[in-house]
Symmetry: C2
Subunit: 221 residues, 2 copies
DNA sequence: ATGCCGTGTTAGAGTTGTCTAACAAAAGAA
DNA sequence: TTCTTTTGTTAGACAACTCTAACACGGCAT
């Protein structure tokens, strides 16, 4: 049985190792993500190593053992199921779900998660478009392209967000955009790589390259 | 913000002080309920006293402050709402809900609880028949009589259980009884105060006085 | 190769909560 | 009242974290 803190470290470690820059998973990165000091992260790495969740020897980069990876995937499963529940059933806005799911994911009960999954109709994606692992840890791969790479004239549907920060989600909200929104790329401005978009409500908006690099889309033909 | 442990102590203290033998709320009782040693309960009482949740001076019985009582009622609200959710929506048996609710009740989010309440249709009673406090801490009083006091010939409906131990709930289950079950008292055996009952399934059963003292019922006329 | 600087590690202390063991107070019995 | 038993309290230690401060390693530039 893992403590809440051990679970938190494990999950962050998984995300650091799985995200593109898989080499950025050092003591400092870990500490920064968890908002603790490097010394704390270091001693937790030792503890997770003793519990066979992480392979770690000092001054080297940690990696997850198969057990560690499987455990992390279950945590991600719980987190995303709870997010889906909060969004679909309890009227939470999609930028409010994360914080509460962060607490709910630590509740220990196999049956709870399996029944929650059933209750929600075995969803494949959470409200941010991230795939939900099944009980075996398998998850769908999201079909995606970055909005930044779409040519003018192309119609697309939003399938996910790379960034789930509140600021980003709020901005999306303000634009009237959400998961599954459809939009049309009108123009690509070469000077700063910003885009002009036709929004669902009929209005147009201009968004920065940075924005467009954080939105995943599917081409509609 | 209270820790999980502080919340647990507070809740047990409330139940000890509110249950009939309100004087049985000493250090030892508290420790026994929480499965810790008296020394631990003692130091927690001091901490709760510093936080103005409990009035306590050494060698005297602790009592809850108004703040402590209000806080405990919110915990009970959360617990009973989660029990109701697990029972109604997630197919949990009523003797399985307690343990998981015990974890869920510590999740901190006003909105979560208010939305859960709405989602469940503002239930007044949990699956054991215990009343659910509202956001202000008010709760319905259950109309009840003990099954042990019902005269033969009287038809009654089960409205609650005094004991929520797994053993007791399992026994009820085995008899085919649950909250809202209706039954008829057939005979009262004076020798040991046991009762013969007509059960919903048409069968009869004989139950001990001890059993009958743990079931709350409403007379049906 | 040498030195520097960022990354990583250790030692030692604080907090929350647990325990055991010893002691003090209150309550009940004689 | 006095003795005994129960109940409650304290001191000191340990575990799971956290931190600060000091130190070790390793990569990079000169």
């Amino acid at each position: 049985m893992l403590s809440k803190n051990e679970e938190d470290y494990l999950k962050v470690l998984f995300h650091l190792l799985t995200g593109e820059g898989g080499d950025r998973a050092g003591t400092n990165q870990l500490a920064q993500q968890l908002e603790v000091k490097p010394a704390s992260a270091n001693s937790m790495l030792k503890r997770l190593s003793e519990k066979k969740l992480v392979e770690y020897q000092k001054y080297s980069k940690p990696i997850l053992t198969p057990l560690g990876r499987a455990t992390a995937l279950q945590l991600i499963r719980r987190h995303r199921l709870w997010e889906t529940f909060l969004f679909q059933k309890l009227n939470f806005a999609w930028d409010e779900v994360h914080e509460v799911a962060e607490q709910l994911e630590h509740v220990q009960s196999e049956k709870l998660i399996e029944q929650l999954d059933r209750f929600l109709g075995y969803p494949k994606f959470d409200p941010h478009g991230d795939p939900i692992p099944d009980a075996q840890g398998n998850m769908a791969v999201r079909e995606y392209e970055l909005l930044a790479n779409i040519a003018p004239g192309q119609r697309v549907r939003i399938t996910g967000m790379k960034d789930s920060s509140t600021a980003f989600l709020q901005y999306l909200n303000d634009l009237g955009l959400a998961l599954h929104s459809e939009l049309l790329v009108l123009e690509h401005i070469p000077f700063d790589n910003s885009l002009r978009l036709a929004l669902p409500d009929g209005l147009t908006a201009q968004v920065s390259e940075k924005f467009a690099l954080h939105v995943f889309v599917l081409r509609l033909d």
